[in-house]
Each structure stands twice: as C-alpha cells, then as structure tokens.
C-alpha cells in the first residue's frame, strides 16, 4: 500500500481510538458517580488514545518510507552476478534505471541481459513485499497503541498530564525543525563540496580566474578539463549587487526619510503599501521585466550614444534588482529612523535647525549603525537573488567591471549546472554544491554581522 494511502488510514484508526476511549472513560466514570471522579476529563483520555495510536505509527511509517528505496536497491544490486556489478557510479545509476524501467514496463525486456530482467522481477517482488509489510506493521502498531491507551483509561491515572507533556514535546519538535533544516542545508552542501575538492583543488577553486565548467566526456577531447575558478563569478555577483545597492540605497533611504519626516498621514497611508507592493512582486516577474524590457532598452540607449552593450548587461539585472530591494531598504531605515529618541530631534529643532539640518546632522548620524545593518541585509538579499540574474544576466563568466558587459553570478551558475542533464559525481554537478556552500557562508556572514549591528544599535537607545 502506498505511503500516501496509509496516512488517512492511520487518521481513521486514531479517530476510532479517540471515540472508543471517550466512551470507555464515560462508562468507567459511571459507577463512580460521574466524570468528576476521574482524574482528567474524558477528552484527555480520548486524546491520549489518539496520540498513542498515531504517533508511533507515523514514526515507523516515515522511517520505512525514507529508507525503503535504498534498502531495496542495495538488495537488488547485490543479487546480481559479479560480472554485471557496476564499477563506477555512472554505471550504477545506468543499471538501476535500466532495472527500474524494465520493472515499470517502459523498457522491452528483450533489449537487456537476462540478469537485468531477473533483477527487475526481484525489484517488483521486493517492492510488493515491502509495501505489504509496511502496511501490516503500521496498522498493527496503530492498533496496539490504541489498545494500550484504551486499557489505561483508569480513573486514578491523570491523562491530562500525559497529553500535555506529549503536546509540549510535539511543540518542541516543531521548533527543532528549524535546526534540522539548517543541519540539512549544511550537510547537503558539505558532503558534495568535500567530494568536489577531491576532484578540483581548493586553491584553484578559490583563486582561479577562469570559469568554464564544461567537462569533456572523452579524455582526448579539446578543453577536456573544465576550469573552476570562482573569481569571475564573485566579481559578477558583486558588480550586479553593487549596481542594485546604488539604486536601492539612495532611493530607499530618501523615501524613508520623506515618509517619516515630511509626508502627511494620508500620503503615508497610501504610499507605504504601494512601495511594499514592489517587495511582493515575484522575482520571476522582475526577471521577465529585466530580460525583455530593460535589457533591450539599455542596449538601444547605449548604441545611440555610441557604446557597445551586451543584450544581457549587468546593468539591466542590477537596475531591476535595485528596484526590487527599494522597499526592503526603505522599511528597514524607516524602523531605524523612528527608533531615534524623540528628544534628540526636539532638541535640535528647538535650537532652530531646519528639518533637513536635524535629519542630516542629528538623526542620520545617530541612526547610521542601524542603516548600515539594513544595507548589509539588503546586500545579502542581492547576492542570493536568483531569478532576475538567471533571466537577465548572461552565462559567460567574464572578468570585467564594465556594467554594459555580460557577467554571470554564483546563483546563475548553480541553476545552470543543476538543471538539464546532470550526471551525479561529475565535477560539474558537484561544483554547484560548492558554489551553494560559498553562497550560504557569504549570506550567513552578512546576516550575522547585520543582525549584530542592528541589535547593538537598538540597545543603545532602549
């Protein structure tokens, strides 16, 4: 039985267990003189039964579903005769997909060795067995759990405490998902990155100035060893992010100042949500806008004044990315400016300074650390942004500072390396994970610093 079908089944059993335990708790309470003589309300006995029923069954089910595939695969491969055993990872995946396709009836069994057909039959049998076992085991556990809880519906047992403790643990587990996610991210990039550095030396990766990840299929092909130097990617990322920040920081900052100092209440109520709409627009829409409208416009404009511009210029991607982070900068600076104590502002105004003078020489210096923190957060946003650059920036890894040229970024390369045909284990695929790790470290560092700066700044005025 499919995992997806077992879930509702467990739910149904849990509901039945709930109902049975509820009725039993009432019937137990009857001779004692009503439910007030139980240690807990019937609801808690029933809820405990449902929890006992569902949680162990769900844990077993998810563990089984997670490892079923791998275990069956290993069993099938180990049953193959020695001469068919794969010698490389590539062969192994080819063999497995052959077996899978035969088993699924997509591949004619006459085209493959008899052993593979045998393996496919075995695969099918194992799969059927596995799902039978799984279904029986899970249902058994659910029923046993419910039966246990049912037998424990006794007036002297405080079911409420049990249920509350269980809920607390469930809540804790949910909070721990965040930690698990982080661990998952770190592990998913670290293993592949280590393998990548087994193929390409770390110094070449960090300090190489050329990036062309096309590895040849045959050893004697021209340009057979790809170059994996990350520097052009980083300069490209920095160039585009810098353009974006050049657009977003002044615009965002000045609009925040205007909104908090000059704008009337109604203007603020209209303009703020409109600005925030810019942040709500999906990045793929910005990418579309950058690639099909802004980039051709910039190319034509550059041609008009006699400059040569690529049709996938860094400028187009950067400008549009800048528009995207305007609301980010403006809402962060708005918070920071409003956090400056009223007394500082009043003092300056009382001395006869104009509003702009107060802003420039009192509030702004006071808010500067917070604003810097906001800019760092915006920078980490820009560095990690993917869709705009995938659609509007190019693929050519040029080492250039010319904004009219085409550059590529870390995120673009991750997407290009991991979409389309991929062979696991090739340096090309592994490189994407190494890039992902660099990106993760970079954005994490930017965020940590930014959060620290902002927090310190807040504490100063609290």
């Amino acid at each position: 039985m499919q995992t997806a079908n077992l879930l509702p089944l467990i739910l149904v059993i849990a509901v039945i267990a709930y109902g049975l335990a509820y009725m039993r708790s009432r019937s137990v309470a009857g001779p004692l003189g009503g439910i007030r003589n139980l240690k807990a309300l019937p609801f808690y006995y029933a809820a405990r039964a449902a929890l006992w029923c569902a949680i162990p069954a769900l844990i077993v089910l998810s563990a089984w579903a997670a490892f079923e595939g791998k275990v069956i695969q290993n069993l099938v491969v180990s049953s193959l005769p020695v001469e068919l055993l794969p010698t490389s990872a590539g062969e192994a995946s080819l063999l497995m997909s052959q077996i899978n396709n035969v088993a699924a009836g997509k591949l004619n069994p006459n085209f493959v060795p008899a052993e593979v057909v045998g393996a496919a039959d075995q695969l099918g049998a194992l799969k059927a067995q596995s799902s039978q076992f799984k279904a029986v085991l899970v249902v058994l556990i659910a029923v046993l759990g419910a039966a246990f809880a049912w037998s424990r519906v006794q007036p002297q047992i405080n079911a409420r405490e049990n249920v509350e403790r269980a809920l607390r643990w469930i809540f804790f587990a949910c909070a721990a998902v965040a930690v698990l996610t982080t661990v998952g991210i770190v592990f998913s990039v670290i293993f592949e990155t280590v393998r990548f550095f087994g193929k390409v030396p770390i110094t070449e990766f960090l300090f190489g100035t050329s990036w062309s990840p096309q590895t040849a299929l045959r050893a004697d092909q021209v340009g057979s060893d790809g170059a994996f130097g990350i520097i052009p990617l980083f300069t490209g990322t920095l160039l585009i992010s810098a353009i974006a920040l050049l657009v977003a920081v002044p615009t965002g900052l000045l609009s925040a100042v205007y909104l908090s100092e000059y704008a009337s209440k109604t203007a603020r109520a209209v303009i703020k949500p409109l600005l925030e709409m810019l942040a709500g627009v999906p990045t793929v829409v910005y990418g579309f806008f950058a690639a099909l409208t802004v980039a051709p416009f910039i190319r034509d404009l550059a041609e008009m004044i006699g400059l040569e511009a690529s049709s996938q210029s860094a400028l187009a991607a950067g400008l549009v990315m800048g528009i995207m982070i305007i609301p980010f900068v403006s809402s962060l600076s708005d918070d920071v400016i409003n956090a400056v104590p009223r007394t500082l502002r009043d003092g300056s105004l009382a001395l006869g300074a104009t509003q702009s003078e107060t802003m420039k020489s009192v509030i702004f210096p006071a808010a500067l650390p917070g604003i810097m923190g906001g800019i760092l957060l915006a920078a980490s946003r820009a560095v990690g942004e993917t869709m705009i650059v995938v659609m509007a920036a190019g693929l050519a890894a040029n080492l250039t500072a010319n904004p009219l040229d085409s550059v590529t970024t870390v995120t673009v390369q991750i997407v290009t390396l991991l979409t389309g045909d991929q062979e696991f284990d090739s340096a090309k695929t592994l490189a994407a994970f190494a890039l992902g790790m660099m990106l993760f470290i970079l954005t994490l560092a930017l965020n940590m610093i930014a959060l620290k700066v902002v927090r310190k700044y807040r504490e100063q005025y609290d």
Binding site: A66, F172, C174, A175, I185, T251, S255, I326, S356, V390
Partner: protein, 425 residues
C-alpha cells in the same frame, strides 16, 4: 550692540540659503518616492501591454470537405489507415477555395502554414470519434498558426509581421476581411497544460500544480510554524538550546531561496529517494522555506495577547497548556493567519528552489495528484519567458497577470482578516 546686530544679520542672510536647502532636501525625498512608484507603474503597464493579447485567441472557421480520397482514407476505424492518412489535405483544400490562384507547390505549402500545427490532429480526432462523418462537409474552427495569430493581434505594428511572407500577409488580411479568421477570448489558455505551440498552450496545468504545491506547503508549514511559535513564546526555558533555535530561525529567514533547492535535491531526492518534479516535494521545500516567516509572525501575534488574559485563566486554575490552547492561541489566530497568508503568497511566487528539484520539466498533462509530475505558475512563466517565440512572450505576461492576481487577492485577504478579526487591546 553692533556685534549682536551683525549676528542676527548673518543668520537672516543665511536663512534664505538654508530654506533653499530644506526645499531641495524635500525634493530629493519626493523624487525618490516618485522613482520607486514610477518603476511600479512601468512594470505593470509593461506587463499588461505585453500580455493582454495572451488572453485572445485567433481562429479560422472553414468549411471542410472530409473527402476520403483526398486523405487516402476509406475506413476511419482502421488504426493503420489513420496513422498513414493525410489530414492536412482537406484543410488546404478548404483554404484554396478562398484563393483559387494558389497552385504551385511552394505556394500551397505557404498557404498550409496558415493553419495551426494541431489542425490536422483535430480532423483526425474528429474522424476517429465519429467515423460516419467521412465524406461529409463540416464547419470546423481551427486555431491559426502562431505567426499568423501574432500578426493578426498586432495588425497595426509592422514589427510583428516579420515571420510571415508578403504573400501570406495578403492572404491573412483577406481572410480577416471575409470573417474567416477571427479573434475571441482565449479559452484554450485556461483549459490546457503546456504545449510546444504557443496558441495551443494553456496555464491550467500550472495553476493546478501551484494549488497542489501550496496545499502541501500549507498543511506542513502552518501547524509546524504555529506549534514552534507557541513553544518558543510560552514553554521554552531560557537556555542555550532555545537561543540556538532562535538564532537558527532568524538565519533561515535570510538564507537565499536557492539554497533550499539544494537541500531538496541533496536530501529529499538524494537521500530519501523522493521522485522529482512532484507537488509533494515542491511543497515540502517551500514549507521549509516559509517556516521562518510563519514562526516570526506567529510569535508576534502571541506576544500581542495581553498578559491579563493568561493571568485570569491561570487564576481560575487552568494548566499552562490549557491557558495556551484555550485562550492564547485562539486570540492570536487572526494574526497568525495573516502572517501565514503573506508567507504563502511569497511561496507561491517562488521559482528558484523549484528549478533545482526538477519542476521545470516540460509537462503537458494537467497534474492529477500530489505524486504526478507538475509545474507551477512562476516556473511556467519562466519557461515561456525563455522561449524565443513571440507567442510565448504573450503567454508569459498573461501568466504573470494571473500570478499577480492570485498574490494580490491573497494579500487582500490577509489585510481584510487583519482589519476584521484582529483585536486592539
């Protein structure tokens, strides 16, 4: 005295300049806002201008003689004959009746290119379904070829006619004049999956895929996020572990979305062997991505419930869990829901992580369940936008309009919920 007067004089003289500076500063602020709002306006008008034609389809209505001899077909129930027959021939013949002068092979070929690539399939399917129609004359409506459609929709703009020869343009003009080629609301777009041919492609597959994915995201992220927020706000002891969890949540909120794609690829596909491109996997990855947003907004909602409520409940003997489950969570629910809807809207527009877990495949069928291959709205838009054909660009902008409509209505719902249900204490 003279000294004092000169001081005042100096101030008065500089005043004009200072006021001018003040005005200039204000102007900077207004300019900044104008730039931001202008980009918003340009963005929207650009997309609407490019995309409104995506909601229009161009069809031609022809009197087709289903002549068996012409099609080399005398028994439509015979599979082999159906496979070999020429279903394009009756369409060409029907077109030739409008242009009897077309005779040379080259011209006929050009003429036949006016009809859409799937027109002959339409004739085939009709005959397969109703074999008795062989030999009769039927009035059939075909989608025109993509290039013709673009030409008709942008009749006033010569830039869109380059893919048609002068002769073809003349024919199309003639057909439009005679009312054979007409435009109407594009129902195809809302009733089909993707296709290689722009005029035949629809967005229904992507919409269904998005809905399925969002459902998975909601079912995973909302309970988990609320439970995590409740734990952190109400139960968590002040210790290193709690601090560590909080740092993790704050950092996850700022991790680039593409990293979550790597996580999905390496862990869910690589380690757990989940199938690629399915809504379950996409929903799972997006759930992990939105979780921090939901946790952070739910915590804010819980924080805003006044302590007096907790104290009152505790005062009449409720346990901590009862206080939370009976009072705090129901009161904080509107705020939690608002935050979650905004988080879901973000997830709906997210593209990058889904590209890495294979939701970018070309999928024609409308997905049927959580485990069938699917694509989602933003990825579909990305794919159309990366195609060279003009027809796909229209569809991409039309798709963007639909995506934005979904997002705006979700945000409006969130605002409405906040206004309607949130209490001020």
């Amino acid at each position: 005295m003279t000294n004092q007067r000169s001081q005042a004089e100096i101030v008065r003289q500089s005043l004009k300049q200072r006021y001018r500076k003040e005005r200039r500063f204000r102007l900077y602020g207004i300019t900044a806002i104008a730039v931001a709002l202008l980009s918003l306006v340009v963005l929207f008008t650009d997309i609407i201008g490019k995309g409104y034609t995506g909601f229009i389809k161009t069809t031609m209505t022809l009197e087709v003689v289903l002549d068996g001899e012409q099609m080399y077909l005398d028994d439509p129930t015979d599979k082999d004959q159906i496979a070999m027959a020429d279903f394009q021939a009756p369409i060409i013949a029907a077109l030739q009746r409008y242009f009897p002068e077309v005779e040379s092979r080259k011209d006929v070929r050009e003429l036949s290119r006016l009809s859409g690539n799937y027109a002959s399939n339409q004739v085939r399917d009709l005959l397969k379904a109703q074999p008795n129609l062989l030999g009769t004359t039927q009035t059939l409506e075909f989608l025109v070829h993509d290039t013709v459609s673009v030409y008709v929709k942008h009749a006033d703009n010569p830039a869109y006619s380059i893919r048609l020869s002068d002769q073809q343009q003349r024919w199309v003009d003639e057909l439009v004049e005679q009312g054979v080629v007409t435009t109407s609301f594009n129902d195809v777009f809302f009733s089909r999956g993707d296709s290689r041919e722009p005029s035949n492609a629809g967005i229904l597959g992507a919409i269904v895929g998005s809905l399925l994915t969002m459902l998975v995201t909601l079912v995973i992220a909302f309970p988990t996020g609320v439970a995590a927020a409740v734990y952190l706000e109400e139960f968590a002891p002040q210790n290193k572990l709690t601090d560590f969890i909080e740092v993790n949540i704050n950092n996850l909120a700022a991790v680039p979305s593409i990293i979550f794609g790597l996580l999905g690829l390496a862990v869910f596909i690589g380690v757990f062997g989940m199938p690629r491109s399915v809504p379950v996997l996409g929903g799972l990855v997006l759930a992990l991505m939105t979780l921090p947003t939901i946790i952070i907004s739910s915590r804010a909602a819980i924080k805003s419930v006044p302590p007096s409520i907790r104290e009152a409940a505790e005062g009449i003997g409720a346990s901590k869990m009862q206080v939370v489950m009976h009072h705090v969570v129901p009161l904080a629910m509107p705020g939690m829901m608002t935050g979650s809807i905004i988080g879901m809207a973000q997830a709906l527009g997210e593209t990058a992580p889904l590209l890495l877990i294979g939701m970018v495949a070309f999928i024609v069928e409308v997905p049927e369940g959580f485990f069938s291959s699917a694509t989602v709205l933003p990825v579909q838009i990305y794919q159309w936008a990366s195609s060279a054909e003009q027809g796909f660009v229209e569809l991409a902008s039309a798709g963007i309009m639909i995506l934005l409509a979904f997002m705006i209505s979700m945000n409006a719902l969130a605002i409405w919920l906040r206004r309607r249900l949130e209490r001020r204490w």
